[in-house]
Symmetry: C2
Subunit: 167 residues, 2 copies
């Protein structure tokens, strides 16, 4: 399954845009790095969320810890690194739920989702250019927090975790 032709029309620092021809029709496709998201529950039964300014949508968004996979990283390594950088949490028992496409209509991004339980607090690494707030929510109160969630991967991840926890 390959296009008839591919032309790079924008090559930036984070993303690339290509125009592919399929069956005579042009498709504009965005290529960001692939990504991970983590539902992490600490030893006291709190889920880790992070709130940060998302310039693209002009507001602060409450989300699962997440980020782009760097060259040479496995998805699990990336997930552990992002959780550590954003919250200081480490250790615990990890499971890979699976993955999903965030916007398959025009973008290649695939997001791998992990569940981590029994994670423990530690020192947070400061990352230049990432100003975010670590927010702890008791698992039992997640249902009340859902109406405040405006991020697709966070809705999917929390709802999938709640279903598994209930079964």
């Amino acid at each position: 399954m390959e296009p008839e032709s591919t032309e790079t029309v924008y090559a930036g620092s984070l993303i690339r845009v290509v125009v592919e021809r399929w069956d005579g029709r042009a498709r504009e496709i965005v290529e960001p790095p692939n990504a991970v998201a983590v539902v992490a529950v600490d030893e006291e039964g709190y889920v880790a969320l992070v709130q940060q300014l998302r310039e693209a949508v002009r507001k602060e968004v409450l989300e699962l810890p997440a980020g782009g996979i760097e060259p040479g990283e496995t998805p699990l390594q990336c997930a552990r690194r992002e959780l550590l950088e954003e919250t200081g949490l480490r250790g615990g028992t990890w499971r890979h739920w699976g993955g999903f496409f965030t916007t398959p209509g025009f973008c290649r991004e695939r997001m791998e989702l992990f569940f981590a339980e029994g994670v423990q607090p530690g020192e947070r690494l400061e990352i230049a250019g990432e100003a975010l707030t670590y927010v702890r929510v008791p698992v039992a109160e997640l249902t009340d927090v859902l109406p405040r969630i405006e991020d697709g991967k966070t809705l999917a991840g929390l709802l999938l975790y709640l279903r598994e926890a209930a079964s």
Copy 2:
């Protein structure tokens, strides 16, 4: 909440890419049209899904009926149009669940989610360039179908609908 500067670095037929400067740092941001997705349940208790080739991810993906909002359309008008075009379903009782960002890290897209119940079958409109298969799934079997879903909005939409239906 505005950037210090904005430069359009790619203007295509569907998407635009801008580089904004915020607090001295450059952010690459993708601007597709905003979009809608619909969880539609027909009078026989079947949820409507559509399967189509998503060139961006090189595979057939099973998704909620969805699409981009056209100029002059309200989100509800768009949702009714997309459902009609993709499945032939019409009528029914509609509710707006709310909206979420699909990838707020680098993209402005906001997706409005609708629940439509009691929709009725009718003739499907043929849309040039959209080859898709309409798939009906009984609400009671949605849980079994979830592991086959690889699309973020579809996971979020179906799980939100199942929670509301169960409460």
